[in-house]
Symmetry: C2
Subunit: 130 residues, 2 copies
């Protein structure tokens, strides 16, 4: 793996483990795209991507990463978590550029009950911040 | 990658490309577990896994694989497809044993509209076969 991407991944895991999302923005390319597990249309730009990722980090409880899949500059990070009392599994599909910046971040979640709980809680918190 | 797993992956792609699911069963370990994008509880056994996978293959239109992620004996296959007029993205997370048999098959799908369309169509077709 490209050392710049490896360093970004290490930073990402530190952010998630600590819950301190202040360094998040430094990992995102200005034109970063976020593809939500819930919504069809992507979010464009580092600012909106940062807001969604930071909100998601605050919504999940018992968040843990499991398998890490690699494909060139793309990484898949499998996770499990709870939203309230609802358990879910998911995967972050992250595309890095050669300098280690995140240019695309896509999330998928299962099962349907988990996706629904996540969607409702994300909508509630993002509305508060808007 | 383990050559047995590579051979199974080639066979899997041939099955999906052709739509001919008769060889599917030969890829599944007897105690194979299937984790649905919709339902919380897994399906146990090769017979039920085969039925769900074959049904899913018949539900998707314009099915295409994209990135292939690898992690030892685990493979992630990103895909896009339609269910009726509803577009979706998804990933197959497949665990192979050392002989190339599939022991776990987990699927995640986004966005919510795609998951809902898939769940409804899968339920309808599986009920017809039951």
């Amino acid at each position: 793996m490209n050392p710049a991407i490896e360093a970004s991944l290490t930073c990402w895991h530190e952010i998630i483990a600590s819950g301190d999302t202040r360094r998040l923005r430094s990992l995102l390319a200005p034109d970063c795209v976020f593809r939500s597990p819930v919504a069809y249309h992507p979010y464009h730009g580092a600012e909106r991507t940062e807001r969604v990722l930071a909100t998601a980090a605050s919504v999940f409880a018992d968040f843990r990463y499991h398998r890490q899949f690699v494909s060139g500059n793309d990484v898949g990070l499998e996770f499990s978590a709870r939203v309230g009392s609802t358990e879910l599994k998911g995967i972050d599909l992250i595309h890095f550029d050669d300098t280690g910046l995140i240019t695309e971040f896509e999330v998928m979640v299962r099962p349907a009950t988990g996706l629904q709980a996540l969607g409702q809680e994300m909508a509630r918190r993002l509305a508060q911040k808007a």
